[in-house]
């Protein structure tokens, strides 16, 4: 099987597996497993989160190494900072707008094949990570087992980045490059839909 199809197959498998925990949503009780599944499903069941997380991975793959790996390192670190703001009650204005804007901006950057310096890419991704982290953080204290919830949502976020990287790897081929840029355009349009309340 060529590398392209192998990567695509693995990405689809990962995406499918990531959606499975929704079946266990009935169990959000006090157990570690319940906390983990609750945290794991939080980024995955919010389509605005999914789009932005996948877009981070996709853009990283588009930019190539070292951005492909640096952005998934930066994102959880800054996301945790945003979550801490949410936990301690520091208000962040327009969180939902920021989350929708992250999909729009990251999608447009992919669609227009933007290649900023690495540090600017890290700042852009990090700035949006604050909104996503704040949204997760405000719900965290309500979770019965917050440790398991935090582990679950950090891992789910990382896996969504990997899905984006997996989809973005074919960018080295001409057809893959067109497909990735088209995916960026779609992500951006759906982001607009979230912003306008249409999606």
């Amino acid at each position: 099987m060529p590398d392209f199809f192998r990567v695509l197959f693995a990405s689809l498998l990962l995406a499918g597996a990531a959606l499975l925990p929704s079946l266990a949503l009935a169990h959000t009780g006090t157990s570690v497993a319940g906390g983990f599944l609750s945290g794991f499903s939080h980024p995955i069941l919010g389509w605005d989160h999914v789009l932005a997380m996948v877009a981070v991975g996709l853009w990283g793959a588009f930019l190539g190494a070292p951005a492909m790996w640096l952005l998934p390192v930066v994102f959880p670190l800054v996301m945790a900072f945003g979550a801490v703001l949410g936990i301690v009650g520091v208000p962040v204005p327009a969180v939902e707008t920021g989350i929708a804007a992250s999909a729009i901006v990251l999608g447009l950057l992919i669609a227009f094949a933007a290649r900023p310096p690495l540090w600017i890419a890290a700042i852009i991704v990090g700035a949006f990570a604050i909104f996503h982290g704040h949204a997760h953080g405000t719900e965290l204290p309500d979770a019965a087992n917050s440790f398991a919830y935090a582990v679950g949502f950090v891992i789910a976020t990382g896996l969504l980045h990997l899905v984006g990287i997996g989809f973005g790897l074919p960018v080295k081929k001409p057809a893959g490059r067109i497909a990735v840029r088209a995916a960026g355009g779609i992500i951006s349009m759906v982001g607009f839909g979230f912003l306008l309340g249409l999606a």
Binding site: P141, S146, F147, A150
Partner: protein
Amino acid sequence: MTTGRGIALAFLFLVASADEAAAHSPIPGMQGFYLGMLHPLSTPPQLLSLLAAGLLLGLRWPGPFRYCWPAFAVSCLAGIALGQWGWLRGLEDTALLAGGIAAAILAALLTPKLTAPCVAISAWTGLFLGVASIPDEGPAWPVIVTLAGSFVGANLALVYLAFAVGSLRARFTAQWVGIGLRIAAAWIAAVAALMLALLLVDPTSGGGTGM
């Protein structure tokens, strides 16, 4: 009977008989030692700080490890002594999470030439793991045995983690292995930051684990 089948049968026999053998501690009082050994892995702050320190040292293996482990071990003993006298008690979870965040961020960023910060973080982690190991009040001998187990467990956990990460990097030289470990470090820093925030917002939450 081939040698392979013989080994398989012997293994099956061992597995089947393990339940009975485990019911009796081989040496009187050793159960406390075993419990002590597992104690450093029993709460999120201890576990996260050990994981972070292990990754930090493993990613630079063997480099600063020759200084960091002695610093960790001596500080762990000091922490046990201070904790027994009642000093630093109540601060251990906050301190371990803060140290874990620092260690995990340093591991994720993989900044070079960091022997002094690595030694400081190892000493910090060891100190508060020692404080966190203090068991409930009780007769002297069981307390000593349990503390000895905690000391051995914490040191073994750090050495094994650092060695495992270092060996992994030496065995698999592909770039993605090191990057994957740094991503894991970033995740550990993120989880530790969340736990620390929860602990500071609600000190009775035990970092949100109901401890």
